[in-house]
């Protein structure tokens, strides 16, 4: 299955792009996606410890299961206001 990953802030700058597509085996979790991203994009590794993940615009845990077409987001520590 394919999922779209959106990037913001520092990790977006580190990678120089705001979107990635990844191909994963069905039944994969957010953690599986994280592992794959760290392997494919070493520039993201230094950010991974502080990241929260969102799927389809909601914060999720790393155990959450992904589905075909999900929009995943890599959310670094926020700083609005």
């Amino acid at each position: 299955m394919r999922v779209k990953v959106r990037l913001f802030g520092a990790p977006r700058e580190a990678l120089g792009r705001c979107e990635i597509e990844e191909e994963l085996p069905s039944g994969s979790t957010v953690q599986d996606l994280m592992d794959l991203l760290m392997e494919d994009y070493p520039a993201l590794r230094s950010h991974s410890g502080m990241i929260r993940m969102a799927v389809n615009r909601k914060y999720v845990s790393l155990e959450a299961q992904l589905r075909e077409g999900d929009e995943v987001a890599f959310i670094p520590p926020v700083g609005g206001g």
Binding site: R6, F8, G9, A10, R12, M50, R52, A54, R57, K58, Y59, A73, I75, P76, P77, V78, G79, G80, G81
Partner: protein, 151 residues
């Protein structure tokens, strides 16, 4: 509700005005309105800031602002209307980055609720801020505050 009309929870690149956001609260039968206005500061930790660059995950951020409003209504039953608008893009010193407007029949609740709203926004809304100085730049955050808890 008022589809296509004014949005109560919005991420925008447009300039903000407190009056305009307060004007989004349409109910005339209210006793008190409060507006929190966040303004870009010229220095942090003694460093001179040239400008700020705000970025958001706009679709999710608007949902999160709505969620914060739902939490407020849950805690303060007397709060009537809520509007939260956050600006993104390049903001100069003194420009408004965020406006939160709330209304209720009485004054006490609006103070408590607006305090909650800005704290919660800083804690969970997917919005990021880069400070640009004369000699560098940095993404600013207080970090995720509650380990494993909210959101």
């Amino acid at each position: 509700m008022n589809e296509g009309a004014t949005k109560l929870f919005e991420i925008t690149t447009d300039e903000l005005s407190a009056d305009e956001v307060v004007g989004r609260l349409a109910d005339p039968d209210i006793g008190a309105v409060i507006a929190f206005v966040g303004v870009v500061r010229g220095s942090t930790d003694g460093r001179e800031v040239r400008y700020l660059e705000y970025e958001a995950y706009p679709e999710m951020a608007e949902d999160v602002l709505q969620q914060i409003a739902d939490e407020i209504r849950e805690r303060w039953k007397t709060i009537k209307e809520i509007a939260i608008v956050h600006r993104v893009g390049r903001l100069e010193i003194g420009e408004i980055s965020v406006v939160i407007a709330l209304s209720a029949a009485h004054r006490r609740e609006v103070f408590e609720a607006v305090h909650y709203a800005i704290d919660r926004l800083k804690e969970i809304a997917p919005v990021w801020k880069k400070e640009v100085w004369t000699d560098g730049a940095e993404w600013k955050s207080e970090g995720w505050q509650k380990e494993g808890g909210e959101p």
